[in-house]
Amino acid sequence: MIRYAIKRLWLGAIIISFALMMMFAMVYLIPGDPASVALGPRATPEMKEALRERMGLDQPVWKQFANFYGSALHGDLGTEVLSNRPVLNVVMEQLPFTLALIVGGITWSVALGIPLGCIAAVRRGGFVDQVIGVLSVAMIAVPSFVVAIYSLLVFAVALQWLPAIGAGDPGNIASQLQHLILPSLAVGLGWIGYISRMVRASMLETLEASHIRTARAFGLPEHRIIYTYALRIAVLPTITLLGVGIGHMLSSSVFAEIVFARPGIGKLVYEAISVRNYPIVSGAVLVTTVFFVLVNVAADILVGLLDPRVRSSFN
């Protein structure tokens, strides 16, 4: 199992370094001279030369690449221009808010998606199955910003059950959770649909397996057959799907954070783009890439923990 985990982490490291390479290439290939842009039209050639030297732009490409790589590995993603603070600090400050949002989205999607998928599979072809099917597709089809706006209008403005904006009082867990309910629903709603479809399909497949017939032939209670013998296998593809889903949730968190005026990476990137604060944008992209890769490694490891066949194929 440890070897399996190390192997997954090693693959993750390769993906992250590939992402770094892409980021370097993107910055390098953007047309225009960064020094002229930074110094404006009235800069003298000597000033430009000096700045280029300071930025390391006079060096050969491979050396620039090595410098970029080396400092990224040390956690140095450059300095933000406006506040003159390290980019990494600015991004990491916002990360917990987005993390909470995504954990909330996963909670919604798993807590509702798995039971709905199970019920639909057990009631296959019946009225309940059809209702869940229509609901699931509807949830997948609605864009998350629409969910964000309408849930805000209904539950926060009209009914006033839940707070409308912000992330809650710092240090007050209850208030923070209250502020999390609607935004995380906006992020997770589509995934309730995806997961319920996925669980239904793999559940139907699993229920056809011959070991389920064995379990029935041994007279095991039906609820144990469905929720232990079949579901333990049927959730495995869902875990992998969720690993990918977190990438989508990261992008929908941009809308949720803007609509609900929550701090977070999405809002940070949005604001950075609107003022062309590129170091923040690339820093945030890198941090989310690392996060995404780590989540997928974690999902693979979780599948390994739940599926002994996967585990031993790596031993």
Binding site: H211, T214, R216, G219, L220, P221, R232, I233, P308, S312
Partner: protein, 326 residues
């Protein structure tokens, strides 16, 4: 006393292309402490028979006539789902064909063996002790440490022995073995048959053994029934049928068994024709379209002709022994 008596059982499936009669007027019994073999080619209704006995027919299937009397007092054809579930695994246990897929891949063997004992009221430790004793009986080496292992960590033969151990753990009155050795290689097959024989003697259960392999039936079973297209065409003791088969289908089946060929042949013998479409059964004898002995009389449903003892053949021409051509 018969542990299982199937009387005039018919099972029908409702399919999109019409009603399909998978079993028609099937009768046989499994006496206490005896082994009864069921033989027939693929599609002859062997699996439907098992599912009907276990109460696990697909949703579109129904028992349209007849009864399945278990231990003289319960008609499995009419038992409600809960009562049926209480019999399954306790009084009637099953070993299925595919040892690779028959065990749950993500639960340990120990967990699965414990779950079967859920009605026993034993503590977890006692259940495990019982599982270990059972695994030892089926000759799994070092059973204590193997309880924590998962099915894929065992070989095919071991998995089938584990399945046998699970089936016999609750000391059932009837063991249904659905082609348990088909997926195994020849050496393992012999060992598994020997094991089943020993365990049957030790536990004192009856066995209903389904197979298309005549040699295995001859080795293990006291009595046998021959099924064709959902009907029992011949039944009797294994000895009677192997030495004096009277139904043309049984005779052809025996002639097709490669193990019974005494000299080299360029092509293995087969039975010409295919199984009839069960949605449109042939009138009269069900084997008549493929039978070289068929005549006008065969368009009438043949009677169960007594041959002697318990031996019965459903054929108008049951008086012609093997080797005599019509």
């Amino acid at each position: 006393m018969a542990v299982l008596a199937v009387n005039n059982l018919s099972v029908a499936f409702h399919t999109e292309s019409g009603r399909l009669e998978a079993l028609k007027d099937v009768s046989f019994s499994v006496p206490a402490n005896r082994s009864v073999g069921v033989v027939g080619e693929s599609g002859c209704g062997k699996s439907t028979l098992i599912n009907a006995i276990l109460g696990l027919l697909a949703d579109n299937g129904e028992i349209s006539a007849g009864e399945i009397v278990f231990e003289d007092d319960k008609d499995l054809a009419r038992l409600d789902a809960a009562a049926m579930r209480n019999l399954r695994g306790q009084r009637i246990a099953t070993v299925f064909q595919d040892p690779m897929g028959a065990l749950n891949p993500v639960l340990s063997v120990g967990r699965q063996m414990r779950d079967i004992q859920y009605r026993s009221g034993l503590s977890k430790r006692d259940k495990d002790a019982r599982s270990v004793a059972m695994l030892r009986k089926v000759r799994i080496p070092d059973p204590e440490s193997r309880l924590a292992q998962f099915p894929h960590e065992f070989s095919g033969g071991m998995k089938q022995r584990i399945a046998i151990a699970m089936a016999l753990m609750m000391e059932p009155a009837l063991l249904i073995a659905d082609e348990p050795t088909t997926a195994l290689d020849a050496t393992l097959e012999v060992a598994t048959i020997e094991l089943l024989k020993d365990l049957q003697r030790e536990i004192g259960c009856s066995v209903l053994f389904i197979s298309h392999h005549l040699g295995v039936i001859a080795e293990l079973c006291d009595e046998m029934i021959v099924m064709y297209a959902g009907e029992v065409v011949e039944s009797g003791t294994t000895r009677e049928i192997f030495h004096d088969a009277r139904h043309p289908y049984t005779q052809r089946l025996l002639a097709c068994d490669p193990a019974r060929l005494s000299r080299r042949v360029p092509r293995l013998p087969t039975i010409a024709g295919t199984l009839p479409d069960l949605r449109r059964r042939p009138s009269g004898c069900v084997f008549q379209p493929r039978c070289d002995r068929a005549d006008a009389q065969c368009l009438e449903v043949p009677p169960a002709a007594p041959i002697g003892g318990s031996h019965i053949a459903r054929c108008w021409h049951a008086d012609i022994p093997l080797g005599v051509s019509a």
